[in-house]
């Protein structure tokens, strides 16, 4: 073996190892609670395909923790937020939550937005008896995982009902098509609840099509939907694929409105050439709108804009509420021990969050109103509020 080749290989390996190390090691918060601090864990999709959700939710949580600490914390202690990124990948959330519980000894876990990833973490939180509060996972199965799992948002049977009524009454649709992501429990669940309600109210589902997470080409499914001639198309999916779906639908000459759930809400939905134009006249349901007329919401929007320079969306508001609810529960329990927080959390009644007053029901779900947002002139426009 000649010398230059050997050197080459060593350089190459060096680069490879350096790159892998740089990717593999993320700064992590250390240590257990020191007595003056209450460690709170958070896992979020800060990077990857649903990064917009993770970042919004994380920003909301950070803002809440900062405000709580500035106001003196709780029980004379400061909160310490320890955040793990699951890169929007399947399988990472379980590892992240195990680390938060066993190494960082957090008193509670906040997360996630996507139901699939909350479902990964839930059995672990339940096993170690650490309360998990999901800010915005709407699939009913999440809190069914055990009595340590809570959420501060409504569930998909309600969201499905809201959108079924909206399709029938506002969009005047009699025939709809449903296009779901079979890999996401959120998408499958919401699609089913929507369908059940829409059919029960006298509508027909003329086409049902499916896709998976890696799909970029939806023309096959959309062509089949087009020939069924629906009045509207329900797409309960996440924003990254929704933009491509709507753009390809328009390319195929489908002019009817498409509508979906809270998975649509991210600024990225409208980014890129032609995206806003294609989405004009489409609608989605969500938890919160910065244009909502409540003093609590206005205060939050102001503080969020001052810190992050952008208007908060529903994920940010729910991230904020999840941290506030935890702090409130610790205060009411008079202790930061996970097993003492749980029963108090379960008894939450009329808690005043920025997304509205919430009472946790027997299934540990929040009962509250939904907001419908339309896309007009390339912007998210508040359309109406639907009460449970």
């Amino acid at each position: 073996m000649s010398l230059p080749t050997a050197v080459h290989r060593r350089v190459f390996l060096g680069v490879a190892v350096a790159a892998l190390l740089a990717v593999g090691c993320k700064p992590s918060g250390g240590g257990a609670g020191t007595g003056t601090e209450i460690p709170v864990g958070e896992f979020a999709s800060l990077t990857g395909s649903e990064a917009a959700f993770g970042r919004s939710s994380h920003n909301g949580t950070v803002l809440a923790i900062e405000q709580l600490n500035a106001a003196g914390g709780v029980l004379g202690k400061q909160f310490k937020l320890i955040t793990e990124d699951n890169q929007s990948k399947d399988g990472e959330s379980a590892t992240a939550v195990k680390k938060l519980i066993s190494r960082d000894q957090v008193v509670a876990v906040l997360g996630e937005v996507a139901s699939g990833r909350s479902l990964e973490a839930a059995p672990i939180c339940q096993q170690y008896k650490v309360p998990q509060i999901s800010p915005s996972s709407t699939n009913p199965k999440v809190t069914e995982m055990g009595d340590y799992i809570f959420r501060v948002c409504f569930v998909d049977p309600f969201q499905g009902t809201v959108m079924a009524k909206f399709a029938a009454n506002t969009l005047k649709a009699k025939k709809v098509a449903v296009l779901t992501d079979v890999g996401a429990p959120y998408s499958v669940g919401l699609g089913t609840f929507f369908k059940e309600r829409f059919v029960a109210d006298g509508g027909t589902v003329v086409a049902e099509q499916k896709f998976t997470k890696d799909d970029k080409d939806f023309k096959a499914q959309l062509t089949a939907i087009k020939s069924a001639a629906p009045d509207a198309i329900f797409v309960p999916a996440y924003y990254g694929q929704v933009t491509l779906i709507v753009m390809q639908a328009r390319e195929l000459g489908i002019t009817v409105p498409l509508f979906g759930g809270d998975g649509w809400e991210a600024p990225e939905l409208l980014q890129g050439p032609g995206a806003a134009a294609a989405l004009e006249g489409c609608y989605f349901s969500t938890h919160f709108s910065p244009d909502q007329d409540s003093p609590r919401a206005k205060e939050f929007v102001k503080a969020y804009e001052a810190k992050f320079g952008a208007k908060p969306d529903a994920m940010a508001a729910l991230g904020y509420d999840s941290a506030l609810l935890l702090s409130d529960a610790i205060k009411r329990a008079g202790s930061a021990e996970p097993e003492k927080i749980r029963p108090v959390l379960a008894a939450t009644k009329d808690f005043d969050g920025v997304t509205g007053k919430m009472t946790l029901n027997a299934q540990r779900n929040a009962e509250k109103s939904a907001v419908i947002i339309g896309i007009k002139g390339g912007k998210f426009v508040y359309t109406e509020t639907v009460n449970p």
Partner: protein
């Protein structure tokens, strides 16, 4: 009926991109007898080079779009040559398995460096080529589909010409046939192998650019799924055979689309792979591949 024709058009347009990527796999295999698993990540880099050069050039025009595509092809050709020189050349005398595992390593390296350099959030790809749609009867044809098909056919033609009619192409075939004998005939093997990698990577880059043009959301893992399908296409067509790879890509694109549009849509991948197994059972060398006697 118009739905069926529409599905065929949809399928051909995805299949054309699979074909472009598959040709890269087959080209390298034909000359070196090993699968370059980093190929699908060169495809990803190609679309990111297009993304940045599209931002620099700005605007939507044919000249600009072609410029962007040329930039990503040149960039990736250089990357392909660099990868071969640094990672594969030192291992040329080692077993094929060593090289294969190195290729997987290079693939992971590109994905992870891609995450650091490009970020992991999907980016909207800028509009580089003008786009319209045509309506013929009940069938809608997007100019994007025509552009993708047209480019693929042109690049295929150019490649066939290079391999069959030029001096470099003759040398490539000679190296594929017998490297030792080729080098005794005065062919610079290193140069020819570099050229093969450059050519294959340029095709991957063209595929990456067209993919991003059609599906304008790009991220560092975007190469994995189409890369796998294209690899299957290359095997289906008979790996080592250029026309076979193109045929395999188009065929797989159409089959995938037809299955996705039916009510068995969740079985898409399963059906594609069952088909592959069936074809390989009856034609072990692929559709257009020839069974070769093993040299001992």
């Amino acid at each position: 009926m118009s739905e069926f024709i529409q599905q065929i058009i949809n399928g051909l347009s995805v299949g054309a991109m699979y074909a472009l990527i598959a040709i890269g796999y087959t080209l390298v295999y034909g000359v070196l007898r090993f699968i370059n698993f980093a190929h699908s990540d060169v495809f990803m880099v190609g679309s990111f080079v297009g993304f940045y050069s599209g931002k620099v050039l700005g605007g939507t025009s044919w000249a600009g779009g072609l410029g962007v595509m040329a930039a990503s092809m040149v960039g990736c050709a250089l990357l392909g040559i660099l990868i071969e020189r640094l990672a594969y050349k030192p291992l040329r005398s080692r077993s094929k398995l060593t090289v294969l595992i190195t290729a997987i390593g290079v693939s992971m390296l590109l994905q992870n460096v891609g995450q650091l350099v490009f970020g992991t959030n999907p980016q909207p790809f800028p509009d580089t080529l003008p786009a319209t749609t045509f309506q013929v009867g009940g069938v809608v044809v997007s100019s994007k589909d025509l552009v993708v098909l047209g480019f693929t056919l042109c690049l295929l033609g150019a490649l066939e010409y290079i391999v069959l009619k030029t001096k470099v192409g003759t040398a490539m075939r000679a190296v594929a046939f017998n490297p030792q004998a080729a080098s005794l005939m005065g062919i610079n093997i290193d140069w020819i192998i570099s050229f093969t990698f450059g050519l294959g990577s340029a095709l991957a880059a063209a595929g990456g650019f067209l993919w991003a043009y059609k599906f304008p959301r790009i991220e560092p893992f975007m190469g994995v799924a189409p890369g796998l399908t294209a690899f299957v296409a290359a095997v289906l067509g008979g790996i080592g055979n250029i026309t076979g790879a193109a045929l395999g890509g188009l065929l797989l694109g159409v089959i995938e689309t037809l299955v996705k549009g039916s009510r068995w849509s969740t079985w898409t991948e399963a059906i594609a792979f069952v088909l592959l197994i069936l074809i390989l059972l009856f034609k072990p060398a692929g559709l257009l591949g020839r069974v070769q006697a093993e040299k001992v």
